[in-house]
Assembly symmetry: C2
Homo-oligomer: 477 residues x 2
Amino acid sequence: MPAPKAVIDYINANADKFIDKLAKAVAIPSISGDGKHRGDVVKMAHFLKGELEAVGVSVELRDLGKHVMDGEELHLPPAILGKLGNDPKKKTVLLYAHYDVQPALKSDGWDTDPFKLVIDEKTGRLIGRGSSDDKGPLLGWINNLQAHHALGLELPVNIKICFEGMEESGSEGLDDLIKAEAGPGKYFDGVDCVCISDNYWLNTRTPCLTYGLRGLSYFKLKISGPGRDLHSGVFGGTVHEPMTDLVYVMSKLVTPDGKILIPGVNDLVAPLTDKEKALYDRLDYGVEDVESAAGGRIAISSEKTTVLMGRMRYPSLSIHGVEGAFSAPGAKTVIPASVSGKFSIRLVPNQTPDNIRAFVEKYVKDEFAKLGSKNTLEIEELHGGKPWVASPDHYNYKAAVKATEIIYGKTPDMTREGGSIPVTLTFAEALDVNVLLLPMGRGDDGAHSTNEKLDRSNYIEGTKLLGTYLYELSTVQ
Amino acid sequence: MPAPKAVIDYINANADKFIDKLAKAVAIPSISGDGKHRGDVVKMAHFLKGELEAVGVSVELRDLGKHVMDGEELHLPPAILGKLGNDPKKKTVLLYAHYDVQPALKSDGWDTDPFKLVIDEKTGRLIGRGSSDDKGPLLGWINNLQAHHALGLELPVNIKICFEGMEESGSEGLDDLIKAEAGPGKYFDGVDCVCISDNYWLNTRTPCLTYGLRGLSYFKLKISGPGRDLHSGVFGGTVHEPMTDLVYVMSKLVTPDGKILIPGVNDLVAPLTDKEKALYDRLDYGVEDVESAAGGRIAISSEKTTVLMGRMRYPSLSIHGVEGAFSAPGAKTVIPASVSGKFSIRLVPNQTPDNIRAFVEKYVKDEFAKLGSKNTLEIEELHGGKPWVASPDHYNYKAAVKATEIIYGKTPDMTREGGSIPVTLTFAEALDVNVLLLPMGRGDDGAHSTNEKLDRSNYIEGTKLLGTYLYELSTVQ
């Protein structure tokens, strides 16, 4: 069922107050990746605890212990765990968002102070770090709780809350918490489904629901030879140069048009069905949207579905850079002693870091051996995460489709994303429930970039969408 | 003729005082590449002016104007021009050295303060920045002048001096000075030959004279596509990635065993004669010396002459690194928007930057075109210098061979160097005279590295060598 008119009216009437609250949240520079701001991340947790308690949620700030970042031991920001409602006749939905943000400096190229929310009346943009990623969506939930609290209305579902403060820094500590609190009698016991609001529409026009994410295998390919950096005048022509070897091996990984050359990797990809292909044909997103977002006419194909499936349902291999070589401006005549190429493969079902690793290691070693070089090669997996795909036919998705149709008058695009939100998989596996990604912002919000924004309409209509989703969820079959 | 016994005795008797003078020179951190130390470079010039004037040289500190370094306008350190003797019956030799040094910080890995000369009594090493490059050799000349001044002896030749303070930073200003002062009635008028003491023995055992240097063509290969750095999750598989293209093109430049693949480049190399090959066979330097210096068993061949000619008489191509890609430790999932590969070719006769450039540009553009990429390529030559080879049969070399045999009891190796000392070519071309490279230090001095040293014996015997060279020069036919 739709949300009561009183709730929608309350949201409309209080829109400016909700924006004021977003401004307060943005003003706290809760940058998890910068040790100097750790106090601000904790301050943000306390701010949210106050907001949640004010609307009747029982809140616990859960200590996640310590970690080491850039050589400094720091206390992790707490996870915010909350509960509201305990009616066994109602569904229980777990709401996830994060309250930390990416770093931002005016000098990075922001037009305004990143930690002062600027309301651009002409464009309707709310500009500030975290506006879209992820303080706006997080407050979207609180706005709904506030509406119900003010109106004296009970929520149509029980909610559990898990808001974290380390998402932008690898969600440290959260996986352990989720696994520890899964199971009978534990905190997450009784959760029927999960809703994560932490991604974006594909474009600026059409809302979407996201049912899949790619995984990742990230490799460091290190080639070493000399005992120290050498002068190319003195040693050029006399020794095997690690950088020459590295460039050779890296040139064998992927073709310039994106075909992965490592035997075995593509064979693992689940076959494409006609039904699935039709999904991509229908998406409100084209080659020109990809090129506009990339800022260059460089799409790998002129076929829309090829490009979209390149992002959503096929693996890709990117070479990110080289550590240890000369990387500054200017001309330095060095033969670097040891160079590490970094590359990663985005994974899709049925690829996993475990089944990919062996293929990559064997192939890289074989290609290096062909060179007959006296240098040495090491290959290391720096990072890995499995892909995730949910069933878009689950009631969790049906409720979100309905809510989107009510608020936006459009059927949402069903999308898979090329990146990863690792906590998605953790919730899906640890709690064994359906997870829904229900985005609030648009594709051009610039989440990790300068001048991050959330459109005012996305914030306010998005707040209504989240509330309506809870009502649709309560009655959906 | 040999130097008079009195001169040699004076040098032996004053060895400790000469070391004290080297300590004073090392204590002035005359780092030309760091604007903060520009005052120290100028201080060094004034210190040397005082030393030279004290032994009867008429000195001019020649203003070379201003330049911009790291965005800051700075006054260039002066060139030290000096004259001693004006006897038309004597030969006139121009002495070149430089009084600036490479940067050095204790934290770079020095065992001792780099700007405090440490005398290691056990090994006989004089350790400090500039000890070998090039303050020791520079003072070697002054020590000889001091000996003659103290003994009331006239020099057997007229000398002109050109000491510069920007050698470690591209010799800015010096080329213009040399060209302006060449010709009748100018400062360098009447110079019969040039002696540069600013390189090293091949090894730690056998003195050498150097009659050739390789040139250099340094290229920046830039590939651009996206309007900004992209997230590999979102864009991997959808766009042409500049880094993939760059790695492909760079893998076509040189084979892992050092063969340059750019058509035309190798065809320019002057053919090897049997007589020349025999020179390399005779050199007191082997594969194990190269590997020991490189710090790894990575020589391109087990054939001594192949390895030595790879350094001295054939071109080489080194890939130095990539600007604009991810180069830090860790795992960043970026698709860099614009990446610039840096590579350079060491040139030998009859290659020049001008005749190499066209081959490189055409080949790189052709290889890139084969990729069918939508990215764009630019290629830029950052830096170029011609190779230089002198006639080792000239009387300038004969005098140095004789002097070496007298002081060290060994015939020096005749070597060509893989690197470049651009001022060599400028002197040779502008003054149209023979130039001799007469090194003082050993191959393991670590000129641009940590714990730079000059062996005490190389400093003192080297001082005798320089003096003896002047006497041999005065009588050689």
